[in-house]
Amino acid sequence: MKQVNLGISKKILALFLGLMLSVCTFAQTSTVTGRVIDVNGEPIIGVNVSVDGGKMNVITDIDGNFSIKVAPGAFLNISFIGYKSQKVSAESTPMRIVLKDNAVLLQDAIVIGYGTVKKNDLTGSVVAMKPDELNHGLQTNAQDMITGKIAGVSVISNGGTPGGGSTIRIRGGSSLNASNDPLVVIDGLAMDNQGIKGVSNLLSTVNPNDIASFTVLKDASATAIYGSRASNGVIIITTKRGVAGAAPKVSYDGNISFGFKRNTVAVMNGDEYENYVETLSGKDSDAYKLLGSQVFGKNYNTNWQDAIFRTAVSHDHNISVSGGFGNIPYRISGGYTNESGTLITSSFERVTGSINLAPTFYDKHLSFNINAKGMYAKNRYADAGAVGAAIAMDPTKPIMVENSSNTAYSDFGGYFQWYSYDSALGKNVINSLASHNPVAMLKQKHDIADSGDFIGNIEADYKFFFCPDLHIHANAGLEYSDGVQRLYESPESYDDSPYGRQGRDHLYKYNKSFNAYAQYSHDFNIHHLDVMGGYEWQHFYRAGLSHYNGVSATHNETSTPTKTESYLVSFFGRLNYSLLDRYMLTTTLRDDGTSRFSKNNRWGLFPSAALAWKIKNEPFMRNIKSLSDLKLRLGYGLTGQQDIDQGDYPYIPQYTVSTTGASYPFGGEYYTTNRPNAYNQNLKWESTTTWNVGVDYGFLHDRITGSVDWYYRTTKDLLNTVSISAETNFNNKLISNVGSLKNYGLEAAIDAKLISKKDFLWDVSYNVTWNKNKITKLTTGTGDGYYVATGSISSGTGETIQAQAVGQSANAFYVYKQIYDTNGKPIAGLYEDRDGDGKITSADKYYYKSPNAPILMGFSNKFVWKEWDFGFTLRASIGNYIYDDVLASHHNVSTTGYYATSGYLTNVMKRALSANFGSTSNIEYSDYYVKNASFLRCDNITLGYTFTNVMSTTFGGRLYATVGNPFVITKYKGLDPEVSGGIDRNVYPRPVTFTIGLNLNF
């Protein structure tokens, strides 16, 4: 209490002295002139320059100049919306004042879990970044903004689906079976990672244009405050706000883009194919008789891949108004995205709106931050299976068959299909084993989702008058979403013939959350103390119904209701202590309770501790002028994982009631059946221990900055679905806590302002990550050679190519070792007999490579020359392997490969000709198909022109052109070397995009 009183009296004293001072100096005034510019040397107009404590204030003119009457030695307050305010002493010579914009400001205060921290005081591995306004490609989604920009963070988009999602991995993921997705926190609200029905992207709720900053918490000392959801890192997104008292500022950001398919899989054209079939099978063969020239009297030479792709035109518009209405800063924005996919019929349309109000009361002692974000999206999904079908479809056939040449195809809407006549139905039915017409697959399938989402929260912060060092903070939020995905496939369509299929999958959900914490921070002489304690409550609820049946008959009706909920309740606290601004300690503790586990295992305690030493601040370092920053960080933390993908009640004994198709009759009367379900009463948190050592450095007045981190992470009680002892539970496998995994790696980032002149800037940033993981324990058993199969491939039902095994990388490929002849050509079906028993059995398989890239790099360049800016971003992945499923499933280029006795043809992939494996069985398990997919990709190249003060007004803006995904350098011969999960099958290829955009500020 004593300290507090002292604080108040000091303040009053200062105020009093200030008043006195201004009164005293008012008498002897003189004119002070100066110019206000930004860090790029550009003048800033409209900057408020006022005498500290006085009433005088002026505004800078069009050239940033100002002139004010003031006594020399007095202080001037310089402030402008979007920039950090400054207080400078007035000088008699013309002054030059450089205002830093918020991007720079961000360097100072970083949003972390439940609070902010000064960048210099960080003890954990945390990266904060402001979206780069100048150097970026097409950004439909929030994660597009961080792709390749942060060491240790891998973002792999899930193909070229418009509005599609991405797989985000921070430091490689800590789980095998449980989710490896990082926790996403938007404006202080922790999101669930279930997503929204009908929107393939978790983050699509947030318009990228509304994002002010990203903070990525990587190591456990930073994430442990999020406890049970923090094992895979945390991404904190903060949205933009207005500025108190500022005039309304309107900005528009829009672009139009054109997407093109980059490449296609080389297959035979119609003529080549006909020759091939004639050469191998002969003109009298059944195969030859099926060719277009024989059936339709014409070889149509259809390029199926061209038929399913198009130039996709997309456009995106965003408008925002921000300012301060008195003491209420506000920002209102709206966005509209209309994205077309390169696959015909695929499209994504989205409208977003957001409002932010941040009023403060009682001299900023009480402040609010109110956010409301709404989204509506309409998504038409294209069946990505069409990509594979276009490779396999016979090129001698037409897309549509004219009724005059063969009426049979009217049963399929005129599309060419492989079919046979079904006498039971009295109509033609599609051969379900053959490739389907890819154009029909796209056009006859109407798979359309309508989704709405709302996220709103109110944050309140109250600073006590009697003790301003103490404040309490509360955040109450709600997410509500409602999505319906409707499917319609006509009876003529390729799928589920002959009844067609229609139905809908409806899911609505709400997540309520509330958190509150109290924080006290104070400097006690050379000691600084910051203590925080809080509480959080979250409720996740989902309900819906999926219902499907045939179109023309109530055929195969399925109706599945969903209704589920879970709760998380947490208590957390943090203590920061620093001595002499050199030695720092941070400890956090979180106690998490989840409704997903039984009472005995429900609560998990997650501690962390970190030490930092600001070496640069030591007296003996002060003289080293070239070194501007040097800090050593040590961190330890324990985090958890409760996202187990096994429903919300895995520990509760329960029965599943059968639906119509699974009832059972006795004496002709049908009974509903109840199935007891497997459950695990002992299920508990998966826990990850992380050790982190890092160094932050800066040279030449921070023109070169960066960090290096080493981490070691072990996950125990790994949540994994494993085989359980028969007759002990109601399934063969059960989610259990078994096994351990370790991850370790090194990551480094460097940012350099290579040139920083008035008219010319050159910024470079580079990051590199090296990560390795290994499974150290898998089951309670110790059976030699035990593995858990994973990674389905298309050759045959239920076949897998990957396996989890002790001592191996997660998801390693489990294959036979191919033997090659002296010319380096693989010999069909000849594998190394690794166990030497004289025959090739599954015991001869070995673990070969994994899809995880050991090395990832990102490299960004930005040049600004006067009004022009130019930037590009490169990203490299080294040592990632892919199973080329497309090639493996087309390996058979012999007669039995292109001709099936059930009466259809399959095109030949040219790449498969060289190996010419024929019909040898088990060929798909050869390591021949596991290919090095290292790549260097250019994510974007951007050229922009900025114009300011058009016709002497505050009107300005920027015009830019961007090429997205212009090139990829790789040895991998498939469509795209970047495949999440490592199996290249039916990937919707990422397009090359050309974008022209305009940004206007009023």
Binding site: S595, K599, A662
Partner: protein
């Protein structure tokens, strides 16, 4: 100062109130229970009882797939009948499959390992069914002797007996396939102990005898439920194979096999009027319908195209044997997988099929064979299999269809109505004949010959006047091919693993047939359970 106090206290008080009120109610929120309408938490006797049966017929709680019982890669491949059928038929002289799916090719050529997916899934399915029977028995009591033919929740006496019967039935497949398995009669929380094959056999015989008194009398139960005839039937099968299961030969077992098969014959079941009826869509329609197959079906696995469907039941069988070039089979599904090996064809055509007449090859082979059971399709087919993976290598089998004997439409044109006659009376006749013959030192009595002729007469085949054991085996092949019986029969006759007396196409992986080791007479205990339960031991040879 006063105003400032209000300023500080008011918001602070409000926030404290908010924090306090929510914090106090919070931890109680963690006690949740399922809220979905398809989830229940209480034991519903009727619904759990029905599940004990339905788990033989469907693969999960949503037909045809979607809420699978087992955690497997492909639910459609993990239903009881499909797995059992593959393991009984593919390694024999009857059937071979073209598919290269996980596990199938190894079955075709008798070289499976302990990680074979089909073998592993069958083990899981049977042990899972046993666990559910145990659960049912744990939750009901022998003191409840209620009986009701109309209310499933009040028929505890019969249901407990049937649950025990179904448990024995699942153990029977474990006994036959795996031999030495985990054994438990209650839902265990610790790893169950291992039981040796002979001990398991003895327990099963005892169990079947114990429950007889509480089962419905023959033909007294609703169609689909096991009655005492099913009990007798399973006992006769056990006794017939007792030498294999116990490792010692004992004439008393053959006597018992004869006694119990005779009990089945005398229990009121009789042969269907036409062989083909047994494998058609209306085979479960019962009295009053054209198809009189229910006269013969003692224990069916029931199917319905709309209400009880899966990819593992009769749809699997019907779709897997058909291809688009064949005459209509009543389902839009034709998967071109299973077809006859030449050795099966030989049982009807000892010199092979010599005709090239298209209509004979399409629909006249039964007439040509003089046996209505010769349901083959030979057009554009080779009789021998140059390649295991080419469907048209080998004659197609048309025995199973989703067509109705009365010509009416089925309930669905994709999913099948055809019930699977798991136990049917014809087998009792052949078991009776074989048991009598074996008990008589391998010499057939006239009673035995008559029993075989009952079956032959129905098929329109010539009447036998003499009979050898090998002829009985051949007769079983002709009668039960593609019904999931062959492997057991070949092992009982000593013609499966470890002998070069009896070869068939692709036996042991060689096109002309070669011997394979006798340890393949038992399937391996799956790796997964060996890992999980250290009470278990691998069967020798694996």
């Amino acid at each position: 100062m006063k105003i400032q106090n209000i300023k500080s206290i008011l918001p602070a008080a409000m926030m404290c109130l908010a924090v306090g009120s929510i914090a106090s109610s919070c931890t109680g929120d963690l006690n949740t229970s399922p809220i979905n309408s398809n989830i229940v938490q209480t034991f519903d006797q009727a619904a759990v009882f029905a599940k004990l049966y339905s788990s033989l017929a469907v693969s999960g709680q949503q037909g045809p797939s979607g809420e699978g019982d087992l955690n497997v890669d492909d639910e459609g491949m993990a239903g009881f009948y499909r797995l059992m059928w593959n393991m009984q038929e593919l390694p024999t002289d009857e059937a071979a499959c073209t598919w290269t799916d996980n596990g199938t090719p190894e079955l075709d050529i008798n070289s499976w390992t302990s990680s074979n997916a089909i073998v592993g899934n069958m083990y899981s399915r049977c042990t899972y069914d046993i666990t559910m029977c145990n659960h049912f028995l744990d939750n009901t009591s022998d003191t409840d002797q209620s009986e009701s033919t109309t209310d499933l929740s009040k028929d505890t006496k019969h249901e407990r007996a049937e649950a025990r019967f179904l448990r024995v039935l699942n153990y029977y497949y474990l006994l036959d396939f795996f031999g030495n398995v985990p054994f438990s009669t209650t839902v265990m929380t610790t790893n169950p102990p291992r039981i040796e094959r002979a001990a398991l056999y003895r327990w099963m015989v005892e169990e079947l005898k114990t429950i007889q008194g509480n089962m419905y009398a023959a033909k007294a139960a609703a169609y689909g439920r096991a009655d005492v005839a099913a009990d007798y039937f399973l006992l006769s099968r056990l006794y017939l194979n007792a030498t294999v299961y116990t490792g010692t030969e004992n004439k008393a077992n053959w006597d018992s096999a004869a006694i119990y098969s005779k009990k089945v014959i005398d229990s009121g079941f009789k042969l269907a009027s036409k062989y083909q009826y047994l494998f058609e869509a209306d085979n479960g329609y019962g009295d009053g319908s054209v198809n009189d197959a229910t006269n013969e079906i003692i224990f069916p696995i029931q199917q319905d195209g709309v209400k009880t469907n899966s990819y593992s039941g009769s749809l699997f069988l019907i779709a897997s044997i058909h291809n688009s070039d064949m005459p209509s089979w009543g389902s839009t599904e034709g998967w071109a997988g299973n077809r006859a090996r030449y050795d099966l064809l030989e049982k009807f055509f000892p010199k092979g099929v010599t005709t090239t007449d298209e209509s004979t090859l399409t629909s006249g082979l039964a007439t040509l064979a003089g046996d209505s059971r010769a349901l083959f399709f030979g057009k554009d087919r080779t009789q021998k299999m140059a390649s295991l993976t080419t469907f048209k290598n080998g004659f197609s089998v048309t025995k199973w269809t989703n067509l109705r004997a009365d010509g009416q439409a089925t309930s669905d044109t994709k999913f099948t109505d055809t019930d699977i006659p798991l136990f049917r009376a014809a087998e009792a006749y052949l078991t009776y004949a074989e048991a009598l013959t074996r008990a008589n030192g391998g010499v057939a009595t006239q009673t035995a010959i008559d029993a075989v002729n009952v079956v032959r007469k129905r098929a329109g085949a010539t009447v036998l006047t003499s009979l050898t054991l090998d002829q009985i085996l051949d007769e079983r092949c002709r009668e039960f091919y593609f019904e999931g019986q062959r492997r057991t029969d070949l092992i009982r006759f000593g013609y499966f693993g470890g002998t070069n007396q009896f070869l068939w196409e692709w036996k042991g992986g060689s096109a002309s047939g070669t011997t394979f080791d006798s340890h393949y007479n038992l399937y391996p205990i799956p790796d997964t359970d060996l890992n999980a339960n250290n009470n278990l031991k691998q069967n020798s040879g694996y």
